[in-house]
């Protein structure tokens, strides 16, 4: 594959020059300004794109806070509410790569943090209701790891992986890549926020996993970059956040879950549990995804991401369960419930996104908010 800074898309609707103001490929590209999904996200995006934060917050902070309170009140199920999930995704993005046309000075504006807090309280409550609180009695590393493996084994997540392996058509496979791209183009980043918050054996274990996620320090080998290759191989746009507007709400909720757990130090046990469950549910589905893309005739450059994950995550799941989660619980038994909650919430929200996708396909419709060939979306 060429290393020239040239877009390498196949046939498809997404060919074309970079829009003005977006970073060149390889630079830390920002999230494109998404389309609002309700009054809160509309007000938030208008406020953020109007310029740097004004000297006084009087003009914008209270209206935004009220809009957040109203939107939070109106949302029956925060995990299914497009307006508040998109607002959270934009607010979290300020801590990841930033948003196009939004000044970096907004990141720590107290008025934004207040509005985020208004959304996070019901979001966390909904996540806890959805995931439940698994219990464990073990607090030694080996025993806790065994408990985690048992817990994760009960998950029936691979239904979507089996569908992709055996039945999905090319359009469905491409839709699934577009949905995954929101996270996979920043793969491993929210879990890295735990690094400065750990010490000793669990910290070393997290470094060992993340080093591999980031390609062992070799340029072009980070898992995010391997996923970008897969996108290009499937004729999709590999720009960061490019598919945010077509992402249905369960995908945003899964993405926001990682940012939420990763940003709050008090939830460091939960982001570690999330990582462990993510790794432990990856090797076997990754093989099925690879099989699916091979069946559909995609080349080895396109399937490399999946093949890499079969091998890498069979290593990562052992380190994550035993040396990371297990050792963390051994070191700090008070975090045991948080680690289990993180694992449960990972399976729950990732499972919801997969179930939504599969349900749409079973009804014969697109799993995206607008199909990939929709000219409105190019």
């Amino acid at each position: 594959m060429s290393s020239l800074p040239v877009r390498e898309t196949g046939s498809g609707p997404t060919n074309g020059a970079l829009p003005r103001g977006s970073a060149p490929r390889g630079a830390a590209a920002r999230l494109p300004v998404p389309r609002p999904r309700g009054p809160l996200s509309a007000l938030l995006l208008t406020t953020l794109t109007a310029g740097p934060p004004p000297e006084s917050a009087d003009s914008w902070a209270s209206p935004l806070l009220w809009a957040a309170e109203e939107a939070a009140d109106a949302a029956d199920d925060p995990l299914r509410d497009d307006d508040t999930q998109l607002a959270l995704a934009v607010l979290y993005e300020l801590h990841h790569r930033g948003v196009e046309r939004v000044d970096d000075a907004w990141e720590w504006e107290p008025g934004l943090l207040s509005a985020r807090r208004v959304l996070e309280v019901p979001f966390e409550a909904a996540l806890r209701r959805r995931a439940g609180q698994p219990v464990a009695t073990e607090s030694d590393a080996a025993g806790f790891a065994r408990r985690l493996f048992e817990f994760v084994a009960d998950d029936d997540g691979p239904a979507l992986a089996r569908y992709l392996a055996r039945r999905a058509g090319r359009e469905q496979a491409r839709e699934w890549l577009a949905l995954r791209s929101l996270y996979q183009l920043r793969e491993a980043d929210p879990h890295s926020w735990a690094l400065p918050r750990l010490a000793g054996a669990p910290k070393s274990a997290l470094v060992e996993i993340q080093a591999d996620e980031y390609g062992g320090g070799r340029t072009g080998r980070t898992h995010a970059e391997l996923f970008a290759r897969t996108l290009r191989g499937a004729g999709l746009d590999d720009r960061y956040g490019r598919y945010v507007d077509v992402a249905p709400v369960p995908v945003l909720a899964a993405l926001n879950t990682m940012s939420f757990l990763g940003l709050h130090r008090r939830l460091r046990g939960a982001i570690i549990g999330h990582l462990a469950a993510y790794e432990m549910t990856s090797p076997i589905p990754s093989r099925l995804y690879g099989d699916g893309f091979r069946r559909l005739g995609y080349d080895t450059d396109t399937t490399l991401y999946f093949d890499e994950h079969v091998e890498a995550d069979a290593v990562h799941e052992q380190i994550a369960a035993r040396d990371l989660a297990g050792r963390l619980v051994e070191q700090e038994p008070g975090l045991r419930d948080d680690v289990l909650f993180g694992a449960a919430v990972c399976l729950a929200v990732e499972g919801d996104a997969a179930a939504h996708t599969l349900a749409c396909w079973n009804e014969g419709r697109s799993a995206l908010r607008a199909p990939l060939d929709d000219p409105e979306e190019t």
Partner: protein, 75 residues
């Protein structure tokens, strides 16, 4: 405590093999892995998992199959 827990992380040129209960052997350190004709098997990462259940599709590496084929280890 399992064998895995007792294995310290290697320093520099030290090689360790950690037995994961009901799963692979985790290999850390600069060991050469060779096939049945003595040829080097390229390692793609610093820490690798060697299959010991016999069920993997990507030998000598573990691919997670041990979780679904009922493999039980002694350690």
């Amino acid at each position: 405590m399992t064998a895995h827990d007792e294995v310290p992380r290697p320093h520099d040129d030290e090689v360790t093999l950690a037995a994961c209960p009901d799963g692979p052997l985790l290999l850390r350190g600069p060991a050469r892995i060779v096939d049945d004709r003595g040829r080097d098997v390229p390692r793609h990462r610093a820490t690798v998992a060697l299959c010991r259940c016999g069920g993997t599709a990507i030998p000598p590496w573990c691919d997670g199959t041990h979780k679904v084929n009922g493999y039980r280890s002694e350690t």
